[in-house]
Amino acid sequence: MRKITLILTILMIASVILSACGGGGENLLDVIKERGYLVVSTDPNYEPQSFLDPAATRAEGTVCPEDMLTYGVMKGFDVDVAKAVADGLGVEVCFATPEWDVITAGNWADRWDISIGSMTITKTRQGALDFAHPYYYTPAQFGAASDSGYSSLDDLEGETVCVATATTYLDWFNGELTIPDESILSQPPSNVTLVELPTDQECAQAIAAGRPEFSVYLTSDTVINSNIAGGLDVVKLGPVVFIEELAPAIDKNSSYDTTAFTEAVSNVIEGLHANGTLSSLSMQWFEVDLTKDPR
């Protein structure tokens, strides 16, 4: 009796493993079109790129599964671009909100189809993710408390700077930024002590709250603009240090064939560049057109 149970258990485990090995290679684009919705991951920590509207209710007649957010509950530039991409593919857009480092690590286990979350193209990320055509470009900019006493990048030598974890800003300091060389405009100041916080916003808040550990942070030009507009007592410090290309990312390890999907997304984005949709979205959310390649 006991032997039979043991054999049955082994057979069950073996069948599960074997069934997982088979299949694969199905075309993701077809799967999405048949399903009727595109699952986009984006981290709603970044206004104006991506944030939650607490007052909004779930879209009516949505085909999005219960545990995903709909367009309208999520708002922002990235969210509007995601909507435009989904429209271009002829499906509804739905949002998942995993932690940022879970998104950048790849191996999504087909939980979501694409990340449209202001992700910078880097060589490291390209190891795990495929990138579609960039939809905008962000300059990296230092921000400082208005009474910090710093006036140029050289003043930062030997000082303490706040950066968010797992960002390109951290990589730039560590000399690990692997964006194309012509996009890096300055080298980091030497002997800088880095304080890593979960997001850029925490850096800005800590500075505004008068924490004495640091009074300068590195983030995107747009985040600093929104910090200033939000009433934080910070100013821009020095010139733009590098330019990031931000593009939709697709998991390399998907169990589906993603070639046609990546191409279709790139085509939609090129169309959105050409017909001015991206420029007007950028003007709407950033009050400046960030969608033209600065090089």
Partner: protein, 289 residues
């Protein structure tokens, strides 16, 4: 005969008087406790009152919160409370089943059962809960098993707390006196009957306070499930609106308030369950007197 009657009467009167006195004392104790709670709550409220008191020789400033933010975003954060409750209730049920099973396995004479139980407890207690959540969500799909964010979280939390609670059940079972086992055997009970009717009811009674502890800890650990991206409970909501509005402190305090309320409700439920089990214990004591 007559003297006897008088003495019985006075004994009963004495008893009634003593019982009334005891009840009066109990009531006074309760009133004092409630008053002390109210004072402590007022002190807590004062701490966050934002008052700026000038005492002449010194100035005391209290913590000031953005009440507008709290008003505007509390409903949004509160929506996550339902998720938190649903996750932690499903998880605690799974955890209790696993804990009891593995405690019984651990105490059995079967070496395989003991090995499975100790291996489970060792592996789960020795690895981080965050990893377990991510494992059930992101690794199982490679084996063709797709759990939703909610269920991946429930299974991870259930397995995790089951391992910790297994030791609570084991301690409870071991704490049942040897005499109870012997008495049950002497009454002709089989080992299974003994476990069901004699040992487990007593073990459970002892296990309730520490289980309550675990449940409350789980309530707060359930926030880890949000990492999957498909569950948005209290803490996740608080962090998102807090960061977006530069009001982290306010948002986290709102979240803390909801966690505390949930804990209070659960503590009340726990007290009732405890009282029920205690009732049985008292009846036994009365009979034995």
């Amino acid at each position: 005969m007559a003297a006897n009657k008088v003495s019985i009467g006075s004994y009963e009167e004495d008893l009634q008087r003593l019982l009334a006195e005891e009840r009066g004392q109990e009531l006074a104790q309760r009133v004092k406790m409630v008053l002390a709670w109210i004072v402590l709550l007022l002190v807590l409220a004062l701490l966050f009152s934002g008052l700026d008191v000038n005492l002449g020789f010194t100035r005391i400033k209290f913590i000031k919160l953005d009440i507008e933010f709290v008003k505007e975003y509390s409903p949004f954060i509160a929506e996550g409370a339902l998720q938190t409750i649903l996750i932690s209730i499903a998880s605690i049920i799974l955890a209790m089943v696993l804990a009891l099973t593995s405690a019984l396995a651990r105490l059995s004479n079967n070496p395989i059962a003991v090995a499975v139980s100790t291996f489970y407890i060792s592996l789960i207690r020795g690895t981080p809960l965050y990893l377990q959540v991510i494992f059930f969500f992101m690794a199982l799909p490679q084996m063709g098993i797709y759990l939703s964010g909610y269920w991946a979280g429930v299974i991870a939390l259930g397995l995790n707390y089951g391992a910790y609670m297994s030791e609570i059940f084991r301690a409870g079972i071991l704490a049942v006196g040897k005499g109870q086992h012997e008495a049950a055997t002497a009454l002709g009970m089989s080992p299974g009957q003994k476990m069901r009717h004699i040992v487990l009811p007593q073990a459970l009674r002892m296990a309730i306070p520490p289980i309550g502890n675990e449940y409350i800890a789980m309530l707060k650990d359930s926030s880890l499930v949000s990492a999957t991206g498909f569950v948005r409970e209290v803490l996740w909501r608080a962090q998102r609106v807090g960061r977006a509005n530069f009001r982290n402190l306010e948002a986290l305090i709102v979240a803390a308030f909801f966690y505390w309320m949930l804990t209070l409700v659960f503590t009340a439920i726990q007290a009732r369950i405890e009282a029920r089990f205690e009732q049985g214990e008292r009846e036994i004591k009365t009979i034995s007197h």
